[in-house]
Symmetry: C2
Subunit: 165 residues, 2 copies
Amino acid sequence: MPLRSDWSELMCPVGRALDVLGDPWVVLLMRDALHGRRRFEEFKESLGISDAVLSRRLTGLVASGLLEQQPFEGDGRARHVYVPTAAGADLLPILQSLAIWAEKHTELPDGGAHMALIHETCGRETTSADTCSACGEPLRAEEMSWDKPWKAERVRLSGATTLEA
Amino acid sequence: MPLRSDWSELMCPVGRALDVLGDPWVVLLMRDALHGRRRFEEFKESLGISDAVLSRRLTGLVASGLLEQQPFEGDGRARHVYVPTAAGADLLPILQSLAIWAEKHTELPDGGAHMALIHETCGRETTSADTCSACGEPLRAEEMSWDKPWKAERVRLSGATTLEA
DNA sequence: ACACCTCGCTTGCCTCAAGAAAGTGATCTG
DNA sequence: CAGATCACTTTCTTGAGGCAAGCGAGGTGT
């Protein structure tokens, strides 16, 4: 008797998606990964997630094929980085449709501001999650920036298996 | 110290969306609600969810403003129905982007088949979650059918506050 | 050489939710 | 009046979340 139901065998694709994405930490981690975060400490600091949960989630995401663990010799010590796979990068429309929905239907916290999804290829804001509403091209992670005014920086996303974040 | 973090105050809209949608039952319930399911027993039979969890989730969804409880005098007894609000109907792009992702990146179970998203207004399949890839119009729940071949029926969705499901 | 730090985990503890099953009460049916 | 249906509520066990501490490998400072 599992605590959490197993939805991997459901006919409906929404159910199967939730078998992987039904955990909110998973979604936040993938958002961060597409924002160029790669290392354990980066995720931890960004999310305020506990060590134990982060470790479990990263392992699970590698097992699910959304992240790939790569060796990394940054400063001489062998560390490793977690890089989105193609399946992970394809979560972009899901993340953006969540963002669009929340912009419309949840309340901005104090000091918040509208986040714009910028298609860098054409330079304009898109109001669609998967196809640029300005130029009509399909949106790819490495061609997007999320303009977060409260951060005074436009965050360029990075796609699958890119290391120069 | 809550068991589940509170993300309602986050700057990033993805976090705020997950504060409501971070529970997989919530997403499945809203999918069913947009498929025209309205009553406690309908959700229960469709999802195999336990009474206790279903009751809690429905209460929560009403509190979150995704469902509205309406009186219903179907057969003389006073029952009530749970109907999607406008915010609930606006989850359509999220559900569809989940479905599109899973069609591409999860394995079909035995006897499964491709589910097509049909824009009934133009009669064609869309490959975008929020804007019809065939005719370019924004997708609205009550204009969509999900063609589930394993069910031998095309399921017409229903939008907000519609009772004739 | 030795103390100390950083990073990526792991372990232990406590609380609280998930899930299964049974109970409840209001209303209808035979 | 016995039984069924519906929408919950209650009880119970299991296990995940969050916090804090520990740990081990590989730095750095003096």
